[in-house]
């Protein structure tokens, strides 16, 4: 394994569902090691002591019906059949 950590642009373009041109792939493969090196600054931080994680709580509201904008939302769908979004086969 090389000492220089990097991110494989081809693998992550597939995982991200973004098709890249060869030129874009080349540029990213060149830039990723430098960005990753900067991110690795965090490996210096000692987080062994107990750090208060942010206090999170659930937010609830009453289950009451409100006016729906579903029809307006369906208006912007490029391809549809009745009230369904039409898409290509999954596989």
């Amino acid at each position: 394994m090389s000492n220089k950590k990097t991110i494989d642009a081809k693998k992550y373009s597939e995982l991200s569902k973004i098709e890249l041109s060869t030129k874009e792939m080349e540029i990213l493969n060149e830039q990723f090691p430098e960005i990753l090196k900067y991110f690795d600054l965090l490996s210096q931080v000692d987080i062994s002591e107990n750090i208060d994680t942010q206090t999170l709580s659930n937010v609830f509201r009453e289950d009451v019906s409100v006016d729906s904008i579903a029809d307006k939302i369906l208006d912007v769908v490029p391809e549809k059949k009745d009230r369904f979004v039409k898409g290509p086969r999954m596989m």
């Binding site: 991110i7 569902k17 890249l20 830039q31 965090l42 750090i51 942010q54 939302i73 490029p78 290509p88």
Partner: protein, 446 residues
């Protein structure tokens, strides 16, 4: 032709050289008589406006017309403001220069060869170039304060939870807030009063008692405790910026404020933690742009995978692609603990450090930007150098605290901004201090 209609024509003409707007509204007189009647506003193009094209400066949403208003837009309309149009920005708010826009870069009104800052660069340039009285921006890591500083206006990122994000098209949703941008502190406080309102459609919106920020602009500052972290003046800070900010701090001290230099060591990790969290959230938030339900839709594909990848290939610009991929990496199996979880823990560490400081001090002060506005194209091919521009602003987003940028000087007619931060929901203290800075500099408010 009404005064507004003729002014609108002038604005459209002026926009040709500044490119602050992507889309202009169809000018309509407001039916509401409110606190902003007769005033005009530019809205960042990441904020949904019913019936008015909202592109996020992306090809992906080139023809997207939102079916609903963001909560802040509903509030502003009730105050009688005239929305002039949608302001340019970096695509999906990802950038610090407004060069990453599918509709061309915005130019800084103070020097057309320089960037206005970003990502809310169109909003800032509209206000600075007199193309609107006010603007709304959104700030994920400095996107209101950076362009406010570079364009010589006032811009405030509110406490996380003060302003509803309903209708703000998400980038880094745990970090971002919509906020006011204006020519002076009074206008900024007025606009904040109009948009800070509880809304149960944003589950992170906090139901606090409303504060009249404009009523607290002349509070006495004697005895106010100001902390100045040395880390905000680190390597990369232009000596001209440093001097201007310190001159202002010295004047505040002579007005009775108590100033102390401090250290916040965790700040040096804030930029890396910020980018890992923001990119991770972006990779998840932007997964909705699949080309099926709205936005760009490129013809027939053999399957869903091809349709998804193809739409994103043509719909997203290069910076958006880069950030989604880096975020996907940070969230992927094998790297999740090392990057995303670690960044979240560092975020808690930074938040706790800020809380400790605010138990002893009222305000933290430093520069907004480490440099003067840079030239268009200067950092475009070097992403890390562009990311570094946010070094002094991101910690406020990680900690969720309010932060404002106020003009404090200039060099060769390029503006310099001073940044003031306060404790959660204590916007009134930094607005008051900002107002004092304007008084010291002889700027008259309305």
């Amino acid at each position: 032709m009404s005064i507004l209609a003729s002014r609108f024509e002038e604005i459209k003409e002026k926009n040709k050289s500044i490119n602050a707007y992507i889309t202009f509204s169809k000018l309509e007189d407001s039916n509401f008589d409110g606190r902003l009647s007769g005033k005009t506003i530019a809205i960042k193009d990441t904020i949904s406006t019913a019936g008015l094209r909202t592109t996020c400066a992306s090809k992906m949403l080139e023809n997207y017309i939102p079916p609903f208003d963001a909560h802040v837009i509903s509030l502003l309309k009730k105050q009688g403001v005239t929305i002039l149009g949608k302001a340019n920005c970096d695509e999906f708010a990802m950038g610090s220069s407004t060069e990453h826009s599918a509709y061309g870069a915005t130019h800084n009104p103070h020097d057309l060869e320089r960037v206005p800052g970003g990502s809310s660069g169109g909003s800032a340039a509209a206000v600075a170039g007199d193309l609107a009285d006010f603007a709304l921006g959104s700030d994920t890591g400095g996107s209101i304060r950076c362009p406010a500083s570079f364009c010589g206006i006032v811009g405030l990122k509110p406490t996380y939870g003060l302003v509803s994000r309903y209708g703000l098209i998400a980038y880094g949703n745990s970090l971002e807030q919509i906020g006011p941008m204006a020519k002076n502190v009074y206008d900024c406080a007025l606009l904040l009063e109009c948009i800070s309102d509880y809304d149960n459609r944003d589950a992170t919106c906090v139901n606090n008692k409303k504060i009249n920020y404009t009523k607290h602009l002349n509070d006495d500052i004697s005895g106010l405790k100001i902390a100045v972290p040395q880390e905000f003046f680190g390597r990369g800070t232009d000596p001209i910026v440093k001097k201007s900010v310190w001159d202002t701090i010295d004047k505040l001290e002579s007005e009775g404020a108590i100033v102390e230099e401090i250290n916040i060591e965790s700040i040096k990790y804030s930029l890396a933690a910020y980018y890992i969290i923001a990119m991770s959230e972006a990779s998840s938030n932007l997964a909705r742009f699949d080309g099926l339900r709205y936005g760009l839709h490129i013809g027939k594909s053999k399957d869903w995978n091809e349709l998804f990848s193809n739409n994103r290939k043509f719909g997203f610009g290069f910076e958006v692609k880069r950030r989604i991929m880096l975020g996907t990496f940070a969230l992927s199996s094998g790297y999740y603990d090392e990057y995303y979880i670690k960044a979240q823990k560092v975020r808690s560490l930074i938040t706790n450090d800020f809380k400790k400081i605010f138990s002893k001090f009222d305000v933290i002060v430093g520069p907004t930007m480490p440099t003067l506005p840079f030239k268009l194209g200067e950092k475009l091919t070097d992403p890390l150098s562009m990311y570094m521009s946010d070094i002094d602003t991101v910690s406020a987003n990680l900690a969720g605290i309010p932060s404002i940028s106020i003009p404090c000087g200039s060099s060769n007619s390029l503006p310099i901004g001073i940044q003031l931060m306060s404790s959660h929901f204590d916007e009134k203290t930094i607005l008051n201090l900002g107002n004092k800075i304007e008084q010291i500099r002889g700027i008259k408010n309305e």
